[in-house]
Structures are given as structure tokens and as C-alpha cells.
């Protein structure tokens, strides 16, 4: 449903190896939430998103992710870590879905054992850490295909 209005972003997107770039909205309109307790991953994921022109916010655990939604904010994409203190990614994903949040939620983790549980909690996609630009671009393609 989201289509590009102009051809401007094509050059940008093809430079990051994105196919079918005509289907994507100008990057600056997409918003994202990074949910991760690790400060290094926070920094990297924040920068990865910035680099693609995606405005983003960072929170430290599942509970903060819920709180930020309760405050009325909404995001096109949520990057959800799995293992976090206070509330983990599986529980947070379940709660967000129960709240009616339909944003694209991509699980980002190293814990392959829990992958199925994590997907069942309501993920749209799952990527192994560490995230890279190309993994992020493949997630973004999914955002628009399912839109």
C-alpha cells in the first residue's frame, strides 16, 4: 500500500542493494522502535536505522516498549531483542499484539532455541544478531509487502 511518490529514493535504495525499490516510501517517513538491553546493540541499531533515514527511538526492555506505546506512540517497525531484564521480547511481543499493535515486529536475537516461541508470540520476521544494513533492508521489504 505504501508506494514511492517520486523516483528520488531509488538511487539511495539501490545503493544498499534493495530490489523493487519503487515499492518503498521515502525512508524519512518510516519510524522504528529499538528494544534492546545491550548498550552496544542500541547504539548500532540506532545508527543503522538513522543511516537509512528512519527516525527511531530506543528503549531498554519489553516493559519500556509497552510503556512507550501506552503513552500513545506508534511505530512502523519494532526491532525486538529477546533476552532482556524486567520483560523479555517474547512477553513484550505477546502484550503488544494483545494491545492491538499491528506494527511490523522483527525479532532480533542470538537464541535460536527460542526462535519458534518468539515467532509464535507474534513476530513478522526474525533476524540473527548482529543486525546489518542488508538484514534491515530485507525486513523493510517485508513491511511494504505485507502492508
Amino acid at each position: 500500500m505504501l508506494k514511492s511518490q517520486t523516483g528520488m529514493e531509488d538511487g539511495f535504495l539501490s545503493s544498499v542493494g534493495a530490489e523493487d525499490s519503487k515499492m518503498l516510501e521515502p525512508p524519512t517517513k518510516i519510524t522504528a522502535l529499538v528494544v534492546d538491553d545491550d548498550t552496544i546493540n542500541q547504539m548500532i541499531h540506532h545508527r543503522l536505522l538513522d543511516n537509512l533515514g528512519i527516525r527511531n527511538q530506543v528503549v531498554r526492555n519489553g516493559k519500556e516498549a509497552i510503556d512507550v506505546h501506552c503513552s500513545g506512540k506508534n511505530f512502523d517497525l519494532i526491532l525486538m531483542d529477546m533476552e532482556m531484564p524486567v520483560m523479555n521480547g517474547i512477553e513484550a511481543t505477546r502484550k503488544l499484539r494483545a494491545m492491538g499493535i499491528q506494527s511490523m515486529i522483527a525479532g532480533v536475537s542470538t537464541n535460536t532455541r527460542e526462535r519458534e516461541n518468539f515467532m509464535e508470540a507474534g513476530l513478522d520476521d526474525y533476524q540473527e544478531k548482529p543486525l546489518t544494513t542488508s538484514k534491515l533492508v530485507s525486513i523493510l521489504h517485508k513491511v511494504h509487502k505485507d502492508g
Binding site: S15, D38, I40, N41, M43, R47, L48, N51, T110, P130
Partner: protein, 151 residues
């Protein structure tokens, strides 16, 4: 030393990190996130890594003094450590983390302790190398640190 010479030397040093297995592809990912608006991104991430992981090392050292060892707790610490080490591309450190976790699963105290000593060595070696590298990079002046150009 002349700038071009410094830059050539810097490129060689950088390549050696990969050739000798100290760093992997993930480090290049970080370099690619560096640009004019974020000229020190890699150094900032690495600095953050060494700051945060020093606390983890302390925790693990203390946990290794317990008798008997709490392998579950140790494994949790190491899971975190491995995560951040992976994120900066610290290949050798990451390998030691994996080994350590194997020993935790096997309940092998001696293996854990030995591996942790090795891990600390690799960690310190990488730190020295990267600190020297960043310092030299600053002296050489603004530089495209990644071999591939972004534009």
C-alpha cells in the same frame, strides 16, 4: 611522517586485523556506518564495548572465585559478553566466549577458568591494537577507514 604514508600504513594495519583473525566482517559493517555526520562511530562503539565489558569481566572474575561455581550465572554473563563482542566483530574474543560456554554446559570448572584467562588475554591484545589504530587514524587526519568507498 608524510600523510599518504601514514594512510598506507594504517590500511595495512587494518588489513592485518582481518588476516590475523582479530576482527571479522562485523567490524566492516560498523565502518560502513561511519560518515561525515558520524566520523568517529567505530571508535565510539569500541570505546563503549570496552567500558561496558570491563564490568562484565569483573563480575565473571568474582563469580569464578565461588565454590562451587554457578555455571548458570556464568553462562548468562558470558552470553552477554559474547553478544557485545560479536557486535563489534571481535573474532578471537568471541571464540573464547563460545568455548567458555561449552565448558559451562559441561560443568567443567577448570576449563572455564583456563578459557577465561585466555579470553582476557585476547581481549587486552585487541584493546591495545585498536587503541593504537584509532590514535594513528587521528594523526593521519580525516580518512575513509573502510577500503570500500560508500559513494
Amino acid at each position: 611522517m608524510e600523510r599518504n604514508q601514514m594512510r598506507r600504513q594504517l590500511a595495512l594495519i587494518r588489513q592485518s586485523f582481518f588476516d590475523q583473525g582479530f576482527l571479522d566482517e562485523q567490524f566492516i559493517q560498523l565502518e560502513e556506518l561511519q560518515d561525515d555526520a558520524n566520523p568517529n562511530f567505530v571508535e565510539e562503539v569500541v570505546t563503549l564495548y570496552y567500558r561496558d565489558s570491563s564490568r562484565l569481566i569483573l563480575n565473571i572474575d568474582q563469580a569464578l572465585e565461588r565454590n562451587p561455581l554457578d555455571f548458570n550465572k556464568l553462562d548468562n554473563y558470558m552470553h552477554q559478553f559474547k553478544g557485545s563482542s560479536t557486535s563489534i566483530g571481535a573474532k578471537k574474543v568471541k571464540a573464547e566466549c563460545t568455548q567458555f560456554r561449552e565448558y559451562c554446559k559441561a560443568g567443567n570448572s577448570e576449563g572455564c577458568m583456563r578459557t577465561f584467562q585466555q579470553l582476557k588475554k585476547e581481549y587486552a591484545i585487541l584493546k591495545r591494537k585498536l587503541e593504537a589504530y584509532f590514535q594513528q587514524a587521528r594523526q593521519a587526519g580525516p580518512l575513509e577507514t573502510a577500503c570500500r568507498s560508500r559513494n
